[in-house]
Symmetry: D2
Subunit: 400 residues, 4 copies
């Protein structure tokens, strides 16, 4: 056993196929649409092509049509898929479906898998994950969860308000987090419920207009108003919702990073193409020191992000908590990707802010990632707290 | 004589009136429209209100309905107008009209002033400034000017392509920079021409889709194709265009800064309101150290920008070249404003990326300012070159 | 009345004389000594030269041999003095004597002025300001003041421990802050005392070895152990010490900034000289984009610092509290100066880290300024708190 | 085969032993000496202890007393050794000896190994690497090599000037780079020579006073003045010096990073200890948001550096060129380590700038690493150039 950074050959081949598919099939569609898919026909067409290319839902088990990639494998393949905004949609590995499949595969009953996971993995339906609430509910602080579920004969009644529920428009079902014990502010007592879209107690309040627009199905505000679900709608066990959330959120945080890292590479390639052909002041952009500094910083940011993601994935695959590693990787990558796109846009000048290239679109899409999945500040707080505790526990071997 | 930073009392009162006007009249319209005005009726209504409030076109002479503010006075008043995206449009001090008025007032003949400046200052018409060209023409490097004007009987024939011509849609006339002598790459031989919108030789190629959308009349691509103008369409003297461009660009660079500084303050106020009311983890946002750091950095960036703008304005009013001071102020302010809006958005979290507040809009609007009016890299190159020359000229008094 | 940034002609002439004096007299001594003066003979010689050049103690009143400069005047002159590490010592405007003179001139009795201020302003003696205490005493948080003074017949007895007392070695007297009422943690009840060096109750514990070494007389740890002083040793009024501290600290914060801004300019000049003469990869350093970026950022940092200092000085001269302005100026300048020296050193490469130029010395000297006079974090906390309160007080006119 | 980040168990055990040794043996010595060893007795004592602990020269082959660690193994062990400034000296893995051993093991003849490598690996002698020259010679640009070696009967005569030759004081021999063909400015024609210290043609000009002081034997300026060496003093083949330099420099760049990463961790631990015990404003430092942000950024910088170093080491072990990976790792790590130490010092406040903790010393030691081994600017230039070429070679698949 020794340190080894090369992916398994099967994974490497899948990544290459994915890269080729994205360039040949996805990017032309994306450029035509300006980066945002809004219709089922586009989704269906892209996913059919991905199936034909053998790159569809690579992260779920073979019994659900995938390749059973572990997190390290996803790191390599998802980055290639993320090279286009629409790549993840094409492969059916976009948020929130990708994370929901991961969660269902891990904790759903066989019946729930047949009913929810199978059609989801096939791309026949979409889903959403209803956790985040408007202030003062569950946002940066999940413990503030205010939506409640109370036991009623034969099931549960859910009441509460959710927002920024990605993909909710057109989703066949939601996984809803609700409090089944404890009070808002206490980190216990949440339960996950599978709620079908046709449940009359789950209603769309509005589409939230957001800076980013590329996640299919938008960000919605939902209300659960006397929403009754049967007992078998409980996902996993009652009161274990916060624990399951970690099952979903750690990996989901990383797959976000992988996909956005792909966009960062794309932005860099757009900038490199421009730098290699545009002349100004008698020199190629690529030969100007300040442009070179931006190009180099992009390379550094991309390489550092990749290393941190891989470390966190390796810890996750090894069954460790990986909380520190995923927080570090998410915080760094979300900020690095933002810097990379911003520099790429700057290199392209006026062209960069125009719709003639997709950099302005990318900038809009990556900005919220510094907030979604836990703002950088919340992650930094966690990272620092773990570091201080680690040091205190070590018996303060070094003292000033 | 001593250093004095308080504005003249008249200016201070005008600034207060402007601030009150923006809050009472402009912001409600802006919030209703999401920050972007797209119709003449909105423009007319806002400008009528500004006239009624006595805050219209403050920078032009009283004979044109203004208050004759010098650059230092503009620094104070324009910042207040810029507190809303639509404030400058309301006061008729938005780009490019504001800079065109400045230029016309400085170098136009009386006849040209009557014909072009008077209706422009009254808000009856709008204008554009056709200088920037797509690569490899005049962009970061004005000397690359490729559009030509050749003498023809009774006038001039202009041929060339321009892009990012702000406000061109619906403008009554353009001020067009064309080369009348020398070759592209040489910093000489440009002339400015007044071209009426109904000139059949000036044609709109397309609207350029851009990240920013709030400048009224958009950013257009134009073609001058055998565009013939009479001799009296020459603005100032033949072959003096690059010199006049400096007359316009130095001050225009500063008025951009003033307006965007207003938006930075607005973003900070939105963040402060949120920080003062939102609680998370049992504390107000405003009491969390990482939020305080962002708030403080915003205060610092705003104060530093204001100081640099004022310095450059004072130099301009004193008749100095001010090239170093305006480059420094533009570079710092454009980046500071971007940081301020970005931090404000981060403080507001998911709300910040939603359309419920205008921060996402502001972010889109200020990003291009690091490119428009000379990218930061071009300005840094100029700043460094002037510094090295200054040092070399001083006889290298300090040697390593 | 209008905004005016040019200094009074008398001030401008004094600044020019100071600049010439520093170059002709101080820098040769400084280069010989590596930036650190350690003997009375050097101090005496430099100060005699400064008197001869008519640039000595410019900030105190003419009755004490100075030019009575207000804060705006000091901003211009002290920056020139700070162009050499030993410049402030030569002019007798180094910390802590300069701030002590300022304080004594403002609040001492005529007798105290004759006894303490007059010889201090003449350079006959030196002084120190004994406020900072080791943890958990008065550091970032002045209210933690733990040193006590209790009334005894005919005077006061002071007990406590102080550290980082600059210039204490060889000082003729200390101004000591001690608590005369209230408990540590409460921001009230401090009194200032004049303590003669020969008082047996004031003892030197040790010299603190620090990263910086250029402040004459070092940083000492002192103990006040049953230190009895007479009633007329009280400076100002009993229990008003925290208020007086503000009289001293606001301006002292600014004069620190002015002096360090001078060093930043010196560092930039050293880098410019190097950039203008060193060739690498076939080009002058000054022609390489990444070097130009550093040079430009230095120019920007210097200009922005100067603007913020001037603003704070103008507020102080106008009799305003200026707390926000001095915190902003101190935070920005201390960090900007650090960046400037760091970039200058980087431009000079291996030469920059060698003793052949003084940049390594400068780097060591400016680093602690981000901690002395209130760490950046404490200032950011204050700045944010004032901003949030200002917003809350304004009635939250802008709401998200 | 799959991605695996855990080190080989043998390596892990050696790293643990090294960590324990550094804490038990090295740190007490280091704290006593303020981080700088200046005598042979200290060196001998530390190295004897390291031998006894079984952690000596881990990177050389077992036949020379080491553990034959590959680069990935060094990454883990050297980081632990670097946790103290004197750790690498103790293990005999400090620059430049460590890199010289690596080079000799790779290209020396058996006789050269017996004569030079064996005593070096045993710690019986020390060595230096004489490549860098003062301007306009070989610095950032190795091709500027100006020292010459010309063939004379029975050997070679070397003439030239070198500076920043680390460890030259007391070294038993130098490996000297000299030009044997081509002209300065051309990247060809260098040869490496083994020069014994008692060669009368190699003379010490001076010790260079530098910001850093912890590298044993200092940084010297040397002159080669008619320095004649025999034919068997040629290391490897004539005219292959630049190629061999790469053999040495890529790995040496990484081992520098590993060692400095250890110091970054140490600085962080010092800050954590302080943050866990110091109270201010009624809270522990570790509970203040701005301190937490610094702690978290340190964790992130350390983790990202480690990931980049490991990637480069894996490429080196795989026999790839690794030039891009080592440039990226060196640039990021040298800057990250600097930030970490700077933040740690800031967290400790006045204590941090005092000699009571070693942070000021660390700050001085790590600063030059952004210049030594190629300044960040040179690396960024290389990184950008490789990125642009890679893109151009790929057929510019993405075009703006």
């Amino acid at each position: 056993m020794a340190v080894e950074l090369a992916p398994d050959p099967d994974v490497a081949r899948l990544a290459e196929r994915t890269a080729a598919f994205v360039r040949a099939v996805v990017i032309p569609v994306e450029e035509r649409l300006g980066g945002v898919a809004r219709t089922e026909s586009v989704r269906a067409e892209l996913q059919a092509e991905a199936k034909a290319a053998g790159v569809f839902v690579p992260h779920v088990g073979v019994e659900f049509g995938g390749h059973g990639l572990d997190m390290r494998g996803r790191a390599v393949v998802f980055e290639e898929a993320g090279y286009a905004l629409l790549g993840p949609l094409a492969l059916n590995i976009a948020a929130p479906d990708e994370g929901n499949m991961h969660l269902l595969e891990a904790i759903a009953t066989d019946e729930q898998k047949a009913r929810y996971l199978a059609p989801l993995a096939a791309g026949d339906v979409r889903s959403c994950f209803a956790m985040t609430e408007p202030a003062p509910g569950a946002g940066s602080d999940p413990a503030a969860l205010a939506t409640t579920a109370v036991s009623v004969p034969g099931g549960w009644r859910i009441d509460g308000r959710k927002w920024f529920i990605t993909g909710a428009e057109g989703a066949a079902f939601a996984i809803c987090m609700a409090r089944t014990s404890g009070e808002p502010g206490h980190a216990g007592g949440a339960t996950m419920f599978l709620v079908d879209a046709d449940n009359p107690g789950m209603k769309i309040v509005r589409h939230i207009d957001t800076l980013d627009e590329s996640l299919y199905g938008g960000h919605l505000e939902l209300i659960f108003d006397g929403c009754v679900v049967p007992d078998d709608a409980v996902l996993g066990e009652v009161d274990q919702g916060f624990r399951y959330a970690q099952v979903r959120l750690g990996p989901a945080r990383m797959t976000h990073c992988m996909r956005w890292l792909g966009i960062a590479r794309r932005a860099q390639d757009i900038a490199l193409a421009r730098a290699n052909e545009r002349e100004v002041f008698g020199a190629k952009l690529a030969d100007l020191g300040m442009v070179q500094a931006m190009i180099a910083d992009n390379e550094i940011d991309i390489a550092a992000s990749r290393g941190l993601i891989l470390r966190a994935c390796w810890e996750l695959d090894a069954g460790r908590s990986a909380a520190q590693a995923t927080s570090i990787a998410k915080t760094f990558t979300s900020e690095a990707v933002w810097r990379v796109v911003d520099r790429a846009l700057q290199i392209c000048g006026a062209l960069g802010v125009s719709g003639d290239v997709l950099l302005g679109r990318f900038l809009r899409e990556v900005r919220p990632f510094r907030i979604y999945d836990g703002p950088s500040e919340t992650h930094r707080w966690s990272i620092a707290r773990r570091a201080t505790r680690r040091h205190a526990a070590a018996g303060a071997e070094v003292r000033p």
